[in-house]
């Protein structure tokens, strides 16, 4: 028996990339713990990361490639070799390219799993512009909106300085560690006395601790941001030097705010008392430095682009943008950019013109993703042409994409499908070939190299399990079989990624991490990276495209106000934003220690509302929308508005062994809509958050 070896690496169970010490004995990871020397997590970790060994060594994990031998939904699979799997895929893909063209292949991924550089390098060399990612409503969409507004994504400066006022806007950083953030840093700032403003439809931990809690109607964040602007303009709390010298379109923007968004109207839209909005806007504008940390509900919305632009406007006009302790535009360490590594420039204008929905969702196209319904319509209706093959990595769209039934039907129909995952998910069951991916314990990578908080971390391989390959290797080896340019090993590719830093991957591992050299207020020297070199409240890019150059708020597509007829039958606002600290979207339900904490899908119902329907605490209830019906277990909670019902998303049941794995039972996206008119008109973001519903108890359960 070997001694325990301690390997320093970084987590990827969610997005925070906390430092980890893995304890390895006889080639097996027996324990993980936090790395006290990690610069942004300091030894802290979350439940998901700590449970990684139960995922990695799970008895249901698939550790070798497989091919489907029966009908699509037979659940009959046969083990094959990597050679057979990759040869089959390469042959099929080549046949599609030869007969139709590379754009007939869709390549996709779910939430960022630190391999997008490799996935895009594969897709771009394949020659397809059709890459289907979660980016259309998560993170990449805020990056895209930020790029056209101020040239980079503003990130709360918890790292070098610290805010004295924090707006936690639709996010739970202690549970979900979104990109660029770990909960510990927020908590430290709070304990150091930062004022806290919380925007959340439900009374969360943050609401309990906040100086001001703004209980917002789900989906109306954009209107609230205009309310903040209104107060700041009316009371002249803005930074006049910034507005005059560093913003573009101030007068027109100001006019729209004052004319279209009086506080009474904002109160009516958001359900937040106008005096509370006034107090919050004052607190944010007059406490220096102040920062806004905003979450994904603002993106999973028809107002995705415009919320981000309006929020960045707030940061700018209050002098908090790229300011110490405000929302900083961090300087990344000198690694190769994802764009360069991924070879985005390989795609010609002619190829780009074939991107599904590219003309309609131009801002999404600018950051190289497509709207999911564009893919489903292509497969099902052949509009405007029919995708023939697909490769999906680490994604479970039949659970996580709006109007899930449509996703299911499309993936059932596509001619040839490859899925890369750890487990046989409901999406993987629809595949022809299954490829087993390594977990983050089985990866060498330059983690976080695409993030915008100024760090890159060394993730190093701690073990190998079965025949699983890290995703990067899968893209590389499949790419090589299709004549693409890659490297002999994954590590050679990482050397290329690191080249500008002067380090090899081996040296980087020793060092542990890189941090960029921060300079604040860069715009004062060289302007923002936008066409006018100013913060574009008036977007010259949207103007050029003939779109509204100023941001605005559009009512939630399905709501008591926009569709009162629908509201008669479905009187409650459905909000799928109830998060858990144990699961990351659709992942993790098979992990025993996590499932012990959260055994069932929970839907929060206000006690008054529950009473009306005869619903008791703990009872299974149906939630029904115009698109379908699901059931979840009711939890009565008076911290939500009685007109709102708040549910968990991402549920399927790995313990159900038929090929559907219970994907329809409690899946919030059976209820959501994906019609193009409900999507953000520039980004193509789908609204997986908010729609209308009714509720009633399940009988005999």
């Amino acid at each position: 028996m070997e001694e325990v070896k301690k390997i320093r690496t970084v987590c990827r169970s969610c997005h925070g990339e906390c430092g980890v010490i893995a304890h390895v004995k006889d080639g097996k990871v027996v324990k993980v713990e936090g790395d006290p020397n990690h610069p942004i997590s300091h030894g802290t970790m979350c439940a998901k990361g700590l449970a990684i060994t139960q995922l990695a060594y799970h008895p249901d994990r698939i550790l070798h490639p497989m091919k489907k031998v029966g009908e699509k939904l037979s659940g009959e699979w046969e083990r094959i070799t990597w050679d057979e799997a990759l040869d089959t895929i390469a042959t099929k893909f080549q046949a599609v390219i030869d007969k139709y063209g590379p754009e007939y292949i869709v390549v996709g991924q779910g939430t960022g799993r630190d391999y997008e550089s490799h996935l895009y390098r594969f897709a771009n060399q394949l020659g397809t512009p059709n890459v289907l990612t979660a980016g259309h409503f998560c993170y990449v969409s805020r990056v895209s909106s930020s790029l056209i507004t101020c040239g980079n994504l503003p990130v709360v400066d918890y790292y070098i300085n610290e805010p004295k006022c924090i707006v936690i806007w639709g996010t739970n950083p202690m549970w979900t560690n979104p990109d660029e953030y770990t909960g510990e840093n927020f908590m430290r700032a709070l304990k150091n006395g930062a004022k806290l403003i919380n925007v959340d439809p439900r009374k969360s931990f943050y609401a309990g601790r906040a100086d001001l809690w703004l209980q917002i109607r789900p989906g109306t964040d954009g209107a609230l941001a205009f309310g903040f602007h209104h107060v700041i303009i009316e009371e002249e709390l803005y930074d006049k030097d910034f507005v005059e010298n560093y913003s573009h379109g101030w007068d027109a923007f100001k006019e729209r705010v004052m004319k279209d968004y009086p506080l009474e109207k904002v109160q009516e839209i958001t359900w937040i008392d106008k005096e509370l909005i006034r107090k919050a806007a004052r607190m944010y504008a007059t406490t220096k430095p102040a920062a806004i940390q905003w979450g994904v509900p603002t993106e999973e919305s028809i107002n995705c682009t415009d919320f981000t632009r309006t929020a960045i406007g707030l940061m700018g006009i209050t002098g908090n943008l790229d300011a110490p302790g405000g929302n900083a535009l961090f300087v990344n360490p000198p690694t190769r950019t994802v764009a360069e590594f991924s070879r985005h420039k390989d795609l010609s204008k002619e190829v780009l013109a074939k991107r599904l929905g590219g003309e309609q969702f131009k801002l999404g196209a600018r950051v190289a993703f497509i709207n999911p319904k564009k893919a489903w319509d292509s497969i099902v209706y052949g509009e405007p042409y029919q995708l023939k093959a697909g490769l999906l990595c680490g994604t479970n769209p039949v659970v996580t994409r709006a109007n899930a039934r449509e996703a299911y039907e499309a993936l059932k129909k596509i001619g040839f499908l490859v899925v890369i995952d750890h487990f046989m998910t409901p999406t993987a069951e629809l595949a022809d070939i299954f490829l087993p991916a390594g977990t983050w314990l089985e990866q060498n990578h330059v983690a976080s190299n695409w993030k915008r908080h100024g760090y890159a971390f060394a993730r190093q391989k701690c073990c190998e399990i079965g025949e699983a390959w890290q995703d990067h290797k899968i893209f590389q080896e499949l790419g090589k079989r299709m004549g693409q340019e890659w490297w002999p090993t994954v590590e050679d590719g990482l050397d290329y990624l690191l080249e500008p830093s002067g380090l090899t991957f081996e040296q980087f591992k020793e060092k542990g991490y890189l941090q960029g050299e921060m300079v604040y207020h860069k715009y004062k020297e060289r302007g923002f990276s936008t066409p006018t070199r100013k913060l574009e409240l008036w977007s010259t890019i949207l103007e050029k495209w003939g779109r509204d150059p100023l941001p605005k708020y559009v009512e939630v597509p399905e709501s008591p106000y926009s569709t009162p007829e629908v509201a008669k039958k479905y009187p409650y606002i459905f909000n799928s934003g109830l998060r858990t600290p144990t699961y990351f979207h659709s992942a993790g339900r098979m992990i025993p220690l996590l499932r012990e904490i959260r055994p069932d899908p929970i839907v929060e119902v206000h006690p008054e509302t529950a009473k009306k329907h005869g619903i008791e605490d703990g009872q299974w209830i149906y939630i029904e929308s115009p698109r379908g019906r699901i059931k979840q277990r009711a939890k009565l909670y008076d911290g939500i508005d009685p007109r709102v019902v708040t549910s968990e998303h991402g549920w399927w049941f790995p313990e159900i062994k038929d090929p559907g794995h219970g994907w329809e039972i409690s899946n919030a996206n059976i209820l959501t809509d994906n019609a193009f008119e409900t999507c953000d008109p520039n980004m193509g973001s789908t609204n997986v958050r908010v729609c209308l519903c009714n509720i009633y108890p399940c009988e005999n359960e």
């Binding site: 324990k31 993980v32 713990e33 936090g34 006290p36 997590s41 030894g43 802290t44 970790m45 979350c46 439940a47 700590l50 449970a51 060994t53 202690m174 549970w175 770990t182 909960g183 510990e184 908590m187 430290r188 304990k191 439900r202 009374k203 969360s204 931990f205 609401a207 309990g208 601790r209 600290p581 144990t582 025993p592 220690l593 996590l594 012990e596 904490i597 909670y637 911290g639």
Partner: protein
């Protein structure tokens, strides 16, 4: 010797459950016994854990004297003596004493004494992103 114990600053606990998983991993426990756990009462979270009482009721209840408090103040259970009668589980006013169905034994927080001996902090305290778990001299917890 200074006494040591465990303490949660409850108002900072946000219910992330990281402490629970870290604890289970450290003690090799599966589904079932929870030496530390957090009950959700949104917007509050109530941690349930061993307070290493000065005069531990679990120890008093144990018919075979398997539970003792050592010189550092850590209340420990001697698994070799434990008969699995669950009297301690009933007696604990905090609900912290647990029963391991697989091994038919009572189990409890040992403050990660093996880690302490190596100069490391308890597993739960290390991972807590809110830094709301303190260990050490109980006199310091009021600060």
């Amino acid at each position: 010797m200074e006494e040591i114990s465990l303490h949660f600053f409850e108002e900072d606990c946000n219910g992330c459950h990281a402490c629970e998983i870290a604890c289970k991993q450290e003690h090799g426990l599966g589904v079932g016994p929870q030496l530390i756990r957090v009950i959700e009462k949104s917007p509050l979270f109530i941690p349930v854990y061993c307070h290493h009482c000065e005069d531990p009721p679990c120890g008093d209840a144990c018919p075979v004297e398997a539970i003792t408090r050592d010189e550092r103040g850590i209340v420990l259970i001697n698994e070799e003596l434990c008969t699995g009668c669950k009297a301690c589980v009933e007696a604990c006013p905090y609900g912290a004493m647990q029963y391991d169905e697989d091994r038919e034994l009572a189990v409890k927080c040992d403050l990660c004494y093996e880690r302490l001996e190596m100069g490391e902090e308890p597993a739960c305290s290390l991972v807590c992103p809110a830094h709301c778990i303190a260990w050490g001299d109980p006199k310091d917890f009021s600060n």
